[in-house]
């Protein structure tokens, strides 16, 4: 789920950037440093939407760097247990399948795939129902529910299920062929 959130960070700026465009330099550095990062608490910082305030700079002893406390607004993406997401399958194997929802990777174990779906190996590995009506393969869009999340300093990894009501394939690219 996406969130709009206000975060704070101390930005270190080299004195060569001081001048009339100091704020611009600071914002540019903030974007470079923060966007695309991931924290366990907030999830992926997708984009900075605005800078609320830039505090007074403090010179760091022994270096010329100055630390500025910057308060900024950003859009973050963080998955939660119990959340229902629509994801695209990226890899299928006999253990289950991997899917991506935005920047997050989700693994769905074969134990959490409906029992009537069997793994079929071959050029395009997939899970298929016995009547062949429903197929999960690479690029299939599935609706899944997260049952667990692992939040690292740099990565978020989730475990999902499609073995519940109203979950499963929502768009099968193979069906159109």
């Amino acid at each position: 789920m996406f969130f709009h959130i206000v975060l704070e960070r101390n930005m270190l700026l080299h004195p060569r950037h001081f001048g009339p465009h100091l704020r611009d330099k600071l914002v540019a550095k903030l974007m470079k440093d923060v966007e695309g990062t991931c924290s366990g608490r907030h999830g992926f910082v997708v984009a900075i939407t605005g800078v609320e305030s830039v505090g007074k700079g403090m010179i760091r002893d022994g270096t010329g760097f100055v630390s500025f406390p910057v308060k900024y607004q950003c859009v973050v993406f963080r998955p939660f247990k119990g959340e229902v997401l629509e994801a695209v399958v990226t890899m299928v194997n006999k253990m289950g399948f991997f899917a991506e929802a935005g920047p997050v990777q989700i693994f769905v174990s074969n134990h959490l795939i409906p029992d009537d779906m069997e793994f079929q190996s071959g050029d395009i590995p997939n899970y298929t129902t016995s009547d062949g009506a429903i197929k999960i393969q690479k690029d299939t869009e599935v609706r899944l529910k997260l049952i667990g999340t692992r939040l690292d300093a740099t990565e978020i990894f989730c475990i999902g299920t499609i073995k519940e009501d109203y979950l499963g394939v929502i768009n099968d690219p193979g069906a159109a062929v």
């Binding site: 789920m1 996406f2 969130f3 709009h4 959130i5 206000v6 974007m31 470079k32 966007e35 695309g36 991931c38 366990g40 907030h42 992926f44 910082v45 997708v46 984009a47 939407t49 859009v75 973050v76 993406f77 939660f80 247990k81 119990g82 959340e83 229902v84 997401l85 695209v88 253990m95 991506e100 935005g102 134990h111 795939i113 409906p114 029992d115 779906m117 429903i134 999960i136 690029d139 869009e141 609706r143 529910k145 049952i147 667990g148 999340t149 692992r150 939040l151 690292d152 475990i159 299920t161 499609i162 073995k163 009501d165 109203y166 979950l167 499963g168 929502i170 768009n171 099968d172 690219p173």
Partner: protein
């Protein structure tokens, strides 16, 4: 991920083929019979790194073993997967070091082999700072598209580059955009707040875009309060949301 993957839009209301839609009890079926496969699913664990990863262990007929364990709060998260053959194979998806819960042939430390329902409160607000506000995917898509437009204008500075997660986030948000007018959808969904339905639950309903009350209850079980008032409001909201849906 390529953008065309997400660009493949579909009418959410019509094109769905839920693999497990008609079931009334999700986990009911041949798979849950422990006598046959000795499978145990248990998703009640608590950890700092893993919010709630399920522990489950499986043993196949021919003595195969599978375990899926969560770490102790102090243990470092680690994921290991190993597979051998399906019949006598060993599946392990472990996240802890040391002794874990790995059942064999349904012994599983005396625990019931019947899977527990993973019905839990969707408690997002507790885990986020006070200044965080949930966004519906369609709102996020609008914001991110605005940023993308601005950045294209400002792209004369090569040091400012949008990261990969931005593109993936934008693709996801636009793919998931069920409503053309996020403000109207938000206004309609705000009615649910009368019944103490949280922002995160409201956004979840918006993102999932359910069509019926059973679908709402299945996907957001925390709304299942049994109150008639809530149900009536949800029904009204679903009817109004149906009018706002975008079929692209």
């Amino acid at each position: 991920m390529s953008s065309d993957k997400w660009g493949n839009k579909f009418p959410i209301s019509s094109g769905k083929k839920y693999a497990s839609k008609p079931k009334t009890v999700a986990t009911k079926g041949k798979d849950t019979s422990s006598s046959k496969k000795g499978r145990t699913v248990d998703s009640d664990t608590d950890s700092s790194d893993y919010e709630e990863l399920p522990k489950f262990s499986t043993s196949s007929k021919s003595g195969g073993k599978a375990s899926f364990e969560t770490p102790t709060p102090t243990s470092k998260a680690k994921l290991n997967t190993s597979v051998s053959s399906k019949s006598g194979g060993k599946y392990s998806f472990e996240t802890s070091v040391g002794k874990g819960y790995s059942g064999k042939g349904g012994k599983a430390g005396g625990k019931s082999t019947v899977p527990k329902a993973t019905v839990a409160k969707f408690k997002v607000e507790e885990e986020l700072p006070d200044n965080a506000s949930c966004l519906m995917d369609c709102e996020a898509a609008d914001i991110l598209e605005g940023i993308q437009g601005q950045r294209t204008l400002l792209s004369n500075d090569p040091t400012i580059k949008l990261p990969g997660s931005f593109d993936r986030g934008l693709d996801y948000a636009t793919f998931d955009r069920h409503y053309t007018d996020p403000q109207s959808a938000r206004r309609v969904l705000e009615k649910l707040k009368r019944h103490n339905i949280s922002d995160s639950e409201i956004c979840l309903i918006s993102n999932v875009c359910p069509e019926t009350i059973p679908e709402v209850y299945a996907l957001v079980p925390s709304l299942k309060t049994g109150s008639v008032g809530v149900e009536i409001t949800i029904k009204e909201v679903l009817q109004e949301l149906a009018k706002l849906k975008s079929f692209n």
